[in-house]
C-alpha cells in the first residue's frame, strides 16, 4: 500500500527533491534487483558472448558465403541449405551419424544397465570395479586413438599378429567401411559406457527397497522384480540418458577425426566431421553454418519428440 502511494505521487514529489536524493531513492527502491543483476551480470555477459552471439552468428552465416579471410559475408539466401539437401554427402553423413548414434545409444544403455546391476550386487571391491569401468571416460580420445591405430595397424598391428598366430587370414580393417564402422562403435561405447554405469548405479541405489520387499511378499521372483520394479523405477533416468544420448549421437567427432579420418574413402564420414572439414579445411563457413543449423533443428525435433513420448507414457 505504502509503495503504491509513493509510486503514484512520485512524479509530483520528485520535482522538489534534489537529483542525488532522487537517485538514492531509485537505488533504494530497486536495490534487490540491482544486487541480483550485478551478481548475475558476469555470467550473463559470458553467456551472451560465448553462447548467444555465436549461435545467432552461425544462423546468419548459414545464409551467406564467407571464407573468413577476405571481405564480409556475402548474402546467398537459401543456397547453402539447397546444397545440403541436393549436393555432396551431407544428408548421407547426417543419416550415418544418426545410425551410429542409435547403435551406440542402444549398446551403451544395455551394457551400462547390466554393469550397473552387477556393481549394485557386488559385495567386495565395488569402488575399485566402478573406478575401472569409469577410467575410459577419463582417458583422452587422442590417447585412445593412438592405442587403437597401433592395435589395428594394417601392416604389423597387434590384431593382425593375433589373427596370424591363430591361423586366420588377417583382415585389413582399413579397407572395409563395415569394419571401421564396427570399431568406431565399439570404441565409442567402451569409452562412454562408464558414465552410463554411474548414472544407472545411482538410480538403482535410489530405488526404495520396500518396493522389492512388497513384491517378494506378493510372490514375485527376481525377473518379475526386475521388470516390474527396477525398470519402471529407472524410467526417468533412462529418459534422461536417451535424450542426452540423442543429442550426443550427432556430436560424435573425435573417433572419426582421430581414427578413421572419415575413411575408407569417406564411408565413415559423419556430419560433424563434414562440418569441421567445410569450416576449417575448405574455409566455407557458410556451408558449415548451414549444416550446423540443420543438425540443430534435427536434434531439437528429436529431443522434443522423445520428451513428449516419454511424458505421455509416464502419465
Amino acid at each position: 500500500m505504502k509503495n503504491r502511494e509513493i509510486a503514484s505521487t512520485g512524479g509530483a514529489v520528485s520535482a522538489g527533491i534534489p537529483p542525488s536524493s532522487r537517485m538514492q531513492k531509485w537505488i533504494h527502491r530497486h536495490r534487490e534487483g540491482i544486487v541480483g543483476y550485478s551478481i548475475l551480470s558476469p555470467m550473463l555477459l559470458y553467456f551472451a558472448i560465448f553462447a548467444i552471439f555465436p549461435a545467432l552468428f552461425v544462423i546468419y552465416l548459414s545464409f551467406t558465403e564467407w571464407t573468413g579471410i577476405n571481405g564480409l559475408p556475402a548474402w546467398v539466401g537459401l543456397k547453402n541449405f539447397r546444397a545440403f539437401f541436393t549436393q555432396g554427402d551431407y544428408v548421407e553423413t547426417l543419416v550415418r551419424a544418426g545410425v551410429y548414434g542409435i547403435i551406440i545409444l542402444f549398446f551403451s544403455l544395455i551394457i551400462g544397465l547390466l554393469i550397473a546391476l552387477l556393481l549394485n550386487q557386488a559385495r567386495f571391491g565395488s569402488g575399485a570395479i566402478r573406478t575401472i569401468w569409469y577410467l575410459p571416460v577419463l582417458v583422452s580420445f587422442a590417447v585412445v586413438a593412438q592405442m587403437v591405430t597401433t592395435l589395428l595397424n594394417p601392416v604389423d598391428g597387434l590384431a593382425k599378429q593375433m589373427m596370424i598366430r591363430f591361423g586366420m587370414e588377417p583382415i585389413v580393417f582399413q579397407e572395409s567401411a563395415l569394419w571401421m564402422s564396427f570399431w568406431l562403435i565399439v570404441i565409442t561405447v567402451w569409452k562412454g559406457v562408464g558414465g552410463t554405469v554411474i548414472i544407472y548405479l545411482a538410480g538403482l541405489q535410489g530405488i526404495d527397497t520396500t518396493l522389492y520387499e512388497a513384491a517378494k511378499v506378493d510372490g514375485a521372483n527376481r525377473l518379475n522384480m526386475f521388470w516390474h520394479v527396477t525398470i519402471p523405477s529407472l524410467r526417468p533416468i533412462t529418459m534422461f540418458l536417451l535424450i542426452t544420448g540423442i543429442i550426443g549421437s550427432f556430436q560424435i567427432f573425435e573417433p572419426v577425426q582421430l581414427i578413421t579420418y572419415g575413411g575408407p574413402h569417406g564411408e565413415t564420414n559423419i556430419i560433424l566431421f563434414r562440418i569441421y572439414q567445410d569450416a576449417f579445411q575448405s574455409f566455407n563457413f557458410g556451408m558449415a553454418s548451414a549444416s550446423s543449423v540443420v543438425v540443430l533443428v534435427v536434434t531439437l525435433i528429436l529431443s522434443v519428440a522423445q520428451y513428449r513420448v516419454s511424458q505421455r507414457k509416464v502419465t
Binding site: 540491482i34 579471410i69 577476405n70 555432396g88 601392416v155 575408407p264 576449417f280 575448405s282
Partner: protein, 436 residues
C-alpha cells in the same frame, strides 16, 4: 542489518565494475601506426614451417650452420633481428593453421609450404614477390608459386620422383640388383617374382594410395601416358580420361604385390620404411629418400620411373618448398629480404649439402661439388633434364572439395575394390559440379 546490506550492495557493484573494466581493458601496446622497421626497433620475424629436420630445433651441425648463415645475412640489414622458427605441420595441417591465423589476424611474417600458394594468393593473403627475386630459380618449381603470372613465393628446394629399389631384396629374390626395371611390364613382372619368392617375408612394391601423398605418386604415371587431373590450364577436370584409367589399372595390379595391408597405410614413414627395412623391393621416392634410406641403413638405389609401352617420360614436381610473405606481416621489407636469401645460390647450396635435397637455384643445381657430395642426386638431375614435369594442378574453385572427390576415387580403387571406371566417373561428376 541495514548497514550490512548497504555494504554488500557497494561491494557487489565495485566487484562487477572492476570485472567489466578489466574485461574491457587492453593489454596491447599503444598503436603508433608504424611498423617496427620504420621505428628502427630491432625486428622480430616469425617463420612457420615443418617441424623436424629443417627447423633449427634440430641439433645437426649442418642444419645449425644454415640458420646461422641466414641470421648473419639478415643482421647485415637488420642488426639485432630475432627470427623465431615455429613448427606448424606440413601439407593440410600447415595450410589450416595459416588460414586460421590469417582469419584471426595474427599470421606469421613468413611461412613455407608446398601445394597451396596459388590458393592463398587468390584469397589475397600473400604479398607479391618482386620478379627479380626468382630470376635465378628454375621455372618448373616456380610454376607452383604463381598466380596470374605474378610470383607469390620463392622456391627454396625442389624435387621429382624416381624409383627407389632395395638391392638386398632384389638379390634375395634372385634378381640382378644393378638392373632395376625400365618399363611398366618389367616392374610388374619383377614385383610379382619378388612377392612369390618372399613367401610373406618380403614383397614386390609399395604403392602409396591415401590423400595428397598418394596423388603425387599416381600423377607421374598418368602423365607418362598423356593423361592428367586437369587440362594444362587447370580450368577443366579430366579425371576420367582413358589414360588415367589405364594408369590406375596398372597401379592396382602393382598394389597386389605390396606387403599385406600396406596400401591402407596413411603414414608415409611407415610405408617407405618397408622398403628401407627390406620388406619390399620398390617404391616411388623423392630426393629426400636419399638421406632417409641411408639413415635407415638401406642399400637403396635410385633410377628413373619405369615407362609404359607407347608412353613417354613424365613426372611431378614434389617436395617443392615455397617460401612466402603474409600480407598482414608488419615486417614486409625484412620478410622479403629473408626470401631473397632463401632464393640465393649460397643458401640453396648449403641447404642441399646439409639435407641432400635438390636446389631450385639454377647455379646451385649446376655446382659439381654438390653432385660429388651426394652422387645419387645425379639420377634426379638426369630426371629433371629429361622428363616433362609440372606441379599438381590448382583448381579454380572449391579446391579442397575437388581434391576430396579425387582422393575418394583413388582410394576406393587402390585400397578398396571399386571398379575403376565407376569410381573415376563419380569423381569427375562431383568435381565438375564443384567447378560450376
Amino acid at each position: 542489518m541495514k548497514r550490512s546490506r548497504k555494504s554488500w550492495f557497494v561491494l557487489t557493484v565495485v566487484m562487477v565494475a572492476s570485472l567489466l573494466l578489466a574485461a574491457c581493458s587492453s593489454t596491447n601496446k599503444p598503436e603508433s601506426g608504424e611498423s617496427p622497421e620504420a621505428q628502427n626497433d630491432p625486428v622480430t620475424l616469425t617463420v612457420w614451417g615443418q617441424p623436424g629436420i629443417d627447423l633449427p630445433t634440430n641439433v645437426d651441425k649442418k642444419n645449425q650452420e644454415i640458420y646461422r648463415f641466414i641470421q648473419t645475412e639478415m643482421e647485415k640489414k637488420y642488426p639485432g633481428i630475432t627470427i623465431d622458427y615455429v613448427g606448424k605441420g606440413w601439407g593440410d595441417d600447415l595450410r589450416q593453421n595459416l588460414m586460421l591465423a590469417t582469419t584471426a589476424g595474427n599470421p606469421p611474417d613468413i611461412a613455407w609450404g608446398e601445394d597451396f600458394v596459388p590458393e592463398l594468393a587468390k584469397l589475397g593473403v600473400l604479398s607479391e614477390v618482386p620478379a627479380d627475386y626468382a630470376k635465378d630459380l628454375a621455372e618448373g618449381p616456380m610454376l607452383a608459386a604463381k598466380l596470374d603470372g605474378k610470383n607469390y613465393a620463392v622456391s627454396g628446394m625442389t624435387g621429382i620422383f624416381a624409383l627407389m629399389y632395395n638391392k638386398d631384396v632384389m638379390k634375395k629374390a634372385g634378381l640382378d640388383p644393378d638392373s632395376p626395371p625400365k618399363t611398366w611390364d618389367e616392374w610388374l613382372d619383377m614385383s610379382k617374382k619378388i612377392t612369390a619368392a618372399g613367401k610373406g617375408e618380403y614383397y614386390g612394391s609399395v604403392v602409396q594410395t591415401v590423400g595428397l601423398g598418394g596423388t603425387f605418386r599416381i600423377a607421374p604415371f598418368m602423365r607418362q601416358l598423356g593423361g592428367d587431373l586437369t587440362t594444362q590450364d587447370w580450368q577443366s577436370i579430366t579425371f576420367n580420361s582413358p589414360e588415367n584409367i589405364k594408369a590406375l589399372t596398372f597401379l592396382k595390379e602393382l598394389s597386389l604385390t605390396a606387403p599385406s595391408g600396406s596400401t591402407a597405410l596413411s603414414d608415409e614413414n611407415a610405408l617407405y620404411n618397408l622398403v628401407h627395412h627390406g620388406k619390399a623391393a620398390f617404391g616411388v621416392a623423392g630426393p629426400w629418400h636419399i638421406s632417409w634410406s641411408q639413415a635407415e641403413k638401406c642399400d637403396c638405389g635410385f633410377t628413373p620411373l619405369p615407362v609404359p609401352d607407347g608412353g613417354k617420360r613424365a613426372n611431378v614436381i614434389v617436395g617443392n618448398t615455397l617460401w612466402f610473405v603474409l600480407k598482414q606481416s608488419k615486417n614486409q621489407e625484412a620478410a622479403m629480404e629473408y626470401l631473397r636469401i632463401i632464393a640465393s645460390q649460397e643458401y640453396q647450396e648449403k641447404f642441399a649439402l646439409a639435407t641432400g635435397r635438390m636446389p631450385s637455384n639454377k647455379a646451385a643445381i649446376a655446382n659439381p661439388e654438390l653432385v660429388n657430395a651426394i652422387p645419387q642426386l645425379t639420377i634426379y638431375g638426369e630426371i629433371v633434364e629429361n622428363e616433362a614435369a609440372a606441379p599438381l594442378p590448382v583448381y579454380p574453385k572449391n579446391g579442397p572439395k575437388v581434391w576430396e572427390a579425387w582422393y575418394k576415387a583413388q582410394e576406393s580403387v587402390l585400397v578398396g575394390g571399386k571398379p575403376i571406371d565407376a569410381a573415376i566417373a563419380e569423381a569427375q561428376k562431383t568435381a565438375e559440379e564443384l567447378l560450376k
